[in-house]
């Protein structure tokens, strides 16, 4: 598939964990300012692929990534690109809410602080407030920003993690099953949030819930056993899949 507004291009991406060939020849383009969902059974390589996009796999011993990944036409595996620079551009939200054991304020302020994005306390306060507002958490925590983040509920913690990720003003947001540890109400709030954030960010979400993929994404990619099986508009994937494997998965026959 080709789009006029491509944010991320990947060509023949292969990932090896030691002898395990986890991802094979993945080639796909991700649209700018849209939500792209990666679905597939456990161990299919969707999370691995997601983690290639901000080079989180670098820290895993024995992991090797081949192929080309371009974000805004720049190869992110270029040897003169520091992963720190990349991760400031490509934010990530993890499966389990993982706030730092610090105050709510310090959690959000951490990114701007280490990247030196703000020059004064007032400016930092502003960034923190704006990030919390965009994450839909401001009204709930504005009076207790100095409270420890672990006192928040699971859903609030996950929104705090989203606020923390967008505080450094990235272009791309990667979400690795962000709702799998949350109850349906918290999940609904996060899904709504993702839909709002689409206007400002390119969002890629890995999910186990096909309903979730159908609800929030515009594009969906189906992975199976390390292969990209099918990639199309979400409507097409869920109503008229071209591949037998995709159909079997979305109709609940495998996975």
């Amino acid at each position: 598939m080709s789009f006029p507004d491509v944010k991320i291009r990947t060509r023949n991406v292969n990932v090896h964990y030691g002898d395990n060939h986890a991802l094979q020849n993945v080639t796909l383009d991700v649209r700018s300012n849209a939500v792209t969902a990666f679905i597939g059974p456990s161990g299919c390589g969707k999370s691995t692929f997601l983690r290639c996009l901000n080079r989180m796999n670098d820290v895993i011993a024995g992991c090797r990534v081949d192929g080309e990944i371009l974000i805004d036409d720049r190869n992110i595996y270029d040897s003169n690109l520091d992963p720190v620079e990349l991760r400031a551009q490509v934010g990530m939200v993890f499966q389990k809410p993982n706030p730092f054991p610090k105050s709510i304020y310090d959690n959000v302020a951490y990114g701007p602080r280490i990247h030196g994005l703000t020059s004064s306390r007032a400016e930092l306060d502003e960034v923190v407030e704006m990030s919390l507002r965009r994450a839909g958490l401001w009204d709930e925590v504005k009076d207790r920003q100095t409270a420890v983040a672990s006192g928040l509920s699971g859903g609030q913690q996950q929104r705090l993690c989203i606020a923390r990720a967008i505080a450094v003003n990235p272009n791309v947001l990667l979400m690795d099953e962000p709702c799998s540890a949350l109850d349906p109400i918290a999940t609904a709030i996060i899904e709504e949030l993702i839909d709002e954030l689409r206007a400002s960010y390119t969002i890629i979400i890995v999910t186990h819930s096909m309903q979730q993929a159908a609800r929030i994404s515009q594009q969906t990619a189906y992975f199976h056993m390390g292969h990209l099986v099918e990639y199309d508009a979400t409507d097409t994937i869920f109503t008229r899949p071209k591949e037998k494997q995709t159909e079997a998965y979305i109709s609940g026959k495998i996975g």
Binding site: A61, V84, E85, R87, M92, N98, P101, V168
Partner: protein, 428 residues
């Protein structure tokens, strides 16, 4: 619940009873083990305290002392006066007036033997601080000898025949006369804490060894904490996993099990023979103990680093923190309580160590309190060992008292470890 009949069967009920019995038995074994351990601990502490009791007090003799000063010198400065005086003679005269019939040289020596070697110092001090006015009778408490003291405390049995007793019949009569006079009083034995080592039990104290231990621990801490933590952080967080790091890791674990005297030999060979550092000094002792403590600190630090959840590292990396920032901002602060606990436990272990210090000359009779890391010094466990080897009866109690002081030092260090852990856990 629908009963499928399984639980009703006789065999099932029998197995259930069997399991319950096993559980009860297991619990009983556990309780028995704890009670046994506590029992041994109580016996150990109890016997230690009991045998240390005689060392906590020391008897003093009240003497009527007269310091004769010629009329033309009375107005002179006391310190100048004191310099030229025969304090031993003055002290003896005060004691001798109670036993005027003692004349022979041998008996006079025996009579003076009732008092501690430090008795004349006590008289001089009383003169210097103004408790004794010149040419007037003044009452001064002077420490008695160790045998006198033990006899009054009942540690030496008076009813034994003279041949089996350290104290002769003659001396015993004198002591009983002085007791009848009401001149023998019991005082806290502060000398145990304020004095350095001495050949005379009643004058011997742990001050020198205690300060020596503190200096040694300071060197150990300053050397082993930074090196240990850096090594652990590198191995756990940064080093690639390969044969070399595996080899290093195995060796660190093995080092923790090396007999401590081997570290002493290493210290002798390297620090003293190659680098010519001063023998018997807290510097060398501290370095040797630092080598010994390093594996403990490295292992404890690595364990607490490994216990920091990976999600925290991922969160920081995901925002764009560099590896060093992840370690310094997140991982190390979270691991700090564990690192501190490991360090203090390691130090406490080192503080109780004797064997390696034997090799670098810290097992020595040193009277002075060390004032720097290069001064000659000994440490508490070495002091205990040396006192235990002394033949005088009174050192038995002193040894136990010194052991109690060492135990208290270790307990304080462990309490500090617990306090620090609690404090930092709250903040994080």
């Amino acid at each position: 619940m629908t009963d499928r009949g399984v639980t009703k069967s006789e065999a099932f009920q029998a197995r259930l009873r069997q399991r319950q019995k096993q559980e009860a038995r297991f619990k009983a074994y556990g309780i028995a083990a704890i009670v046994t351990a506590l029992g041994f601990l109580c016996v150990l502490l109890g016997s230690m305290i009991y045998s240390a009791l005689p060392a906590l007090t020391h008897h003093h003799l009240v003497l009527d002392v007269v310091v004769e000063v010629p009329a033309d010198k009375v107005s002179q400065d006391r310190f100048e006066l004191a310099d030229g005086m025969d304090w031993r003679g003055i002290t003896f005269a005060a004691l001798h007036q109670r036993f005027p019939d003692v004349t022979s040289r041998r008996d006079r020596r025996a009579l003076m033997g009732l008092l501690s070697m430090s008795a004349s110092d006590a008289v001089e001090e009383a003169f210097l601080n103004g408790s004794i006015a010149p040419n007037e009778v003044a009452q001064v408490e002077v420490p008695v000898s160790d045998d006198f003291d033990l006899l009054v405390k009942g540690v030496i049995d008076r009813s034994l025949p003279e041949t089996d007793r350290i104290v002769s019949d003659r001396v015993l009569t004198w002591i009983e006369l002085l007791e009848a006079d009401g001149r023998v009083v019991s005082r806290w034995a502060w000398a145990l804490l304020t004095n350095g080592d001495s050949r005379e039990p009643e004058m011997a104290g742990v001050r020198g060894a205690f300060i020596g231990t503190l200096w040694t621990m300071l060197v150990t801490l300053l050397v082993s904490l930074p090196i240990g933590v850096m090594a652990a952080v590198y191995l756990q967080e940064i080093a690639p996993r390969n044969r070399f790091t595996d080899f290093v890791e195995i060796n660190i674990n093995n080092l923790a099990a090396v007999p401590s005297i081997v570290f002493g030999l290493l210290g002798l060979a390297v620090f003293i023979n190659v680098f010519h550092m001063p023998r018997s000094s807290p510097l060398v002792g501290g370095l040797v103990l630092a080598l010994m403590t390093l594996p403990t600190i490295i292992i404890a630090t690595r364990a607490s680093l490994a216990a920091v959840p990976p999600s925290i590292r991922e969160a920081a990396l995901g925002i764009g923190a560099s590896r060093l920032q992840v370690i310094m901002h997140h991982v190390l602060p979270l691991a700090l309580p564990g690192i501190l606990t490991g360090t203090i436990i390691g130090l406490a272990q080192a503080a109780g160590e004797t064997a390696p210090l034997l090799m670098v000359g810290m097992m020595a009779f040193i009277v002075d309190t060390p004032t720097e890391v290069t001064a000659k010094a000994t440490v508490l466990p070495a002091q205990i060992y040396m006192w235990a080897n002394n033949p005088e009866r009174a050192f038995v109690a002193r040894t136990s008292a010194a052991i109690l002081i060492l135990l208290m030092l270790l307990l304080t260090m462990n309490a500090l470890a617990i306090y620090l852990r609690k404090r930092f856990e709250k903040r994080w």
